[in-house]
């Protein structure tokens, strides 16, 4: 049973860990090429180009976590029919573009992005999807997990102006970025550590930091103090109750023995009643007399005069060691 539970726990933990990794992928930016010649060699539109030097529509996906995850075998599509929950997985897979395995670029480290070209030419490599993005009309991009059933992320893209992209700025906030602010394979907002700058400007003397940090340190230790104060009180109380119960039991037994002694007729299995009384009496004496399993740890030594080391009782009051040394020589 224990082994079964362990195996189940392990499986649950493993599946949770897998799901957590996949759910960290978010669609980050979508760009629609505003012409239809992207699949021809004559395409001269400026912008982010693929390995063939051609600008095409693209979808950028970001690993939003702080650990490395694989995006291979996930699916991307703009076909809304895949939202039908009754549709079997093999049929879904046919309607979506799979991200192939075997390319190290699909392993995304923390906060890293990958850009897929929606040009309908999967034969051009890993980063090419089997569909194109509609020009001048809204659509929705869906990102599915490797089982083709779990939706990881989706975004409804409005009809975009020429050269613009639709980008996630923070959390669920999306914004249309102008042509000069489009950021393929780069963060949508410039990153810099605002925190340090903010503290430098608003707390130049460190007073706010001191108050906040000391407050947090005290909060932690006060909570611990309160918990263990109450818990310690409860433990003490429980110990006292246990002691009272033990004393009460001893008293009850002692009373019974006294009763037995008075009656003089009780069954004693061959042991004299006085022996019973003596044993219980001794236990009571030990309990109240200071012999316990747990001692206070205080040692009190009373100095009393004895003659065992009294110089006046020694044979020689001033031992002459030098003589002994000479004798040894």
């Amino acid at each position: 049973m224990k082994k079964l539970l362990s195996v189940i726990s392990f499986l649950v933990a493993s599946s949770a860990a897998f799901a957590q990794g996949a759910h960290d992928f978010k669609i980050n930016e979508v760009y629609v090429a505003t012409h239809s010649c992207c699949d021809s060699a004559s395409c001269k539109q400026p912008g982010y180009v693929d390995e063939y030097g051609q600008a095409a529509s693209w979808i950028e996906i970001e690993n939003t976590s702080y650990s490395t995850h694989e995006i291979r075998n996930c699916f991307v599509t703009i076909n809304p029919t895949v939202l039908d929950k009754d549709m079997p997985a093999p049929q879904r897979e046919k309607l979506m573009s799979a991200i192939p395995a075997g390319d190290p670029r699909t392993s995304l480290s923390a906060k890293q992005r990958i850009t897929f070209f929606a040009d309908g030419h999967v034969n051009r490599g890993t980063l090419h999807l089997n569909f194109t993005l509609p020009v001048g009309e809204p659509f929705t991009v869906y990102l599915f997990d490797g089982n083709a059933v779990d939706l990881l992320d989706s975004v409804s893209v409005p009809a975009l102006p020429v050269g613009s992209s639709y980008a996630r700025i923070s959390g669920d906030e999306w914004q249309v970025l102008d042509a000069d602010k489009v950021t393929p394979n780069a963060p949508n907002i410039a990153y810099h550590n605002n925190k340090i700058q903010e503290f430098k400007e608003k707390d130049p003397h460190g007073i706010a930091m001191t108050l906040m940090c000391m407050g947090v340190v005290f909060s932690c230790l006060i909570l611990l103090f309160v918990f263990f104060h109450i818990f310690g009180w409860a433990m003490n109380r429980a110990a006292k109750l246990a002691r009272v119960r033990a004393i009460r039991a001893i008293h009850e037994k002692a009373e019974k023995v006294v009763e037995m002694a008075k009656q003089g007729t009780t069954e004693t299995k061959g042991i004299e009643i006085e022996t019973y009384a003596a044993v219980i009496g001794l236990a009571l004496h030990e309990y109240f007399g200071g012999t316990h399993d747990l001692e206070s740890g205080i040692l009190t030594i009373q100095q009393t005069h004895t003659t065992w080391a009294d110089k006046s009782h020694e044979l020689r009051t001033t031992p002459q060691h030098h003589q002994a040394v000479e004798l040894k020589k």
Binding site: K200, H205, G206, T210, M214, L221, H229, G232, M235
Partner: protein, 389 residues
């Protein structure tokens, strides 16, 4: 034949001359000599004065090792050269995984019984962390950036591993100086603290006798690491690496079922990590990186931080005593132990207590704030990391 021997001699001469350019004598600078002398001084302090030999001997030798001059010729021997053995050892400091391992050992060796028996002593451990933030304010005033100031200020926690952990995250360029400063002042706790303690207490206050602590059950000891972990990391998740390992080590000890693991964590593993940590921290003080004005400022700030932390603990005990009943007064000499130099600070409380009254044993009382200081400094580091990273 003669020509051949001449060319051989030339070859030997050239190679020997080339070899000489690689020697320490050819590359030595005054800064190296100064740092080697500092390393030797640390070793002398450890051996002759018995100042924390477990820390100062590895650091001292590390300083010497890191300052042996050599020609930069890509031999992969220096601490800052990629793929050198010392560089591999140094990754534990640079990436901050030695400190949590040290905390694992501290947890496995620490008995939190004194703290659980008298939980109000936890507050002294919290108050002493003011040393960190006092130093933070001074560092800002001296012109350091907030992240650098935080890295330097954590020296006031008197906790070497925490100082290394935080500075590796917030101010990696100052980490060598901060680490050496933190460990040096930890070793000098017996020199710094007694004066401050005497200055802030009267003879009468030093004579206060505290009641013996109550017996703590094993259940309480087992519960402490779990509750401690939950409370502290729920409030300050950024302190997870340090606090998690501290309480994990303590649970290994107190669970009574993993004695073997606790023994390893507290002895062999801890010793290995301390050796590597001390040596590489010492090594990181290469003269070119270390002998700067910033280092001098860091050492000055470190001293301030220790003094402020000690004073804060002692003053806080005075404040607590105002509110405590007469028979429950706390001896202010245990206030210094709020810094997390375990068990050095508690030993100082004991020694100073015995100087005032040869029958007043404060060690077990001082262990309470001392271990609370470990938790407090780890929490403080977590908060600073959360605010500034």
């Amino acid at each position: 034949m003669l020509l051949e021997s001449v060319s051989t001699m030339d070859f030997i001469g050239t190679k020997l001359a080339d070899f000489l350019t690689y020697t320490g004598f050819a590359n030595v600078e005054w800064a190296n000599i100064i740092m080697i002398a500092v390393g030797a001084f640390f070793i002398w302090l450890a051996i002759k004065k018995d100042f924390e030999p477990l820390l100062l001997i590895p650091i001292g030798l590390g300083i010497i090792l890191g300052n042996i001059p050599f020609k930069a010729a890509g031999l992969e021997i220096g601490l800052y050269e990629d793929n050198s053995v010392l560089n591999i050892f140094y990754q534990g400091v640079r990436l901050g995984w030695y400190p949590p391992l040290v905390f694992l050992g501290i947890g496995a060796m620490t008995d939190f019984g004194a703290l659980i028996a008298n939980p109000k002593l936890m507050l002294i451990g919290a108050a002493a962390q003011f040393g960190i933030f006092g130093a933070y304010m001074i560092a800002l005033a001296m012109g350091f950036e907030p992240n650098q100031a935080a890295g330097i200020a954590i020296i006031g926690g008197a906790d070497g591993p925490t100082a290394i952990f935080l500075s590796s995250k917030l101010s990696p360029n100052l980490m060598g100086a901060i680490a050496v400063c933190a460990y040096s002042y930890m070793a000098l706790v017996p020199v710094i603290q007694p004066g401050v303690m005497k200055l802030l207490t009267t003879k009468k206050q030093r004579l206060i006798k505290m009641k013996p602590s109550r017996q703590v059950s094993q259940t309480e000891k087992m519960l402490f690491p779990i509750v401690g972990l939950l409370i502290t990391t729920f409030i300050v998740p950024s302190g997870l690496p340090l606090l998690g390992m501290l309480f994990f080590g303590n649970l290994l000890k107190e669970s009574t079922k993993t004695t073997r693991l606790a023994k390893t964590a507290g002895s062999a593993l801890n010793d290995i990590v301390v050796m590597l940590l001390g040596l590489t921290v010492g090594c990181s003080t290469q003269a070119s990186e270390f002998l700067t004005l910033a280092t001098v400022k860091i050492f000055a700030l470190g001293a301030f931080a220790f003094i402020i932390a000690t004073a804060s603990g002692v003053i806080f005990v005075h404040i607590m005593n105002i509110f405590l009943p007469k028979d429950q007064k706390i001896n202010p000499l245990i206030g210094n132990a709020g810094v997390s130099a375990v068990p050095m600070a508690a030993r100082i409380s004991q020694n100073e207590g015995l100087k005032a009254d040869p029958h007043n044993y404060l060690l077990m009382h001082a262990m309470g704030p001392n271990v609370a200081g470990v938790i407090g400094s780890a929490v403080a580091a977590g908060v600073l990391l959360g605010f500034l990273s």
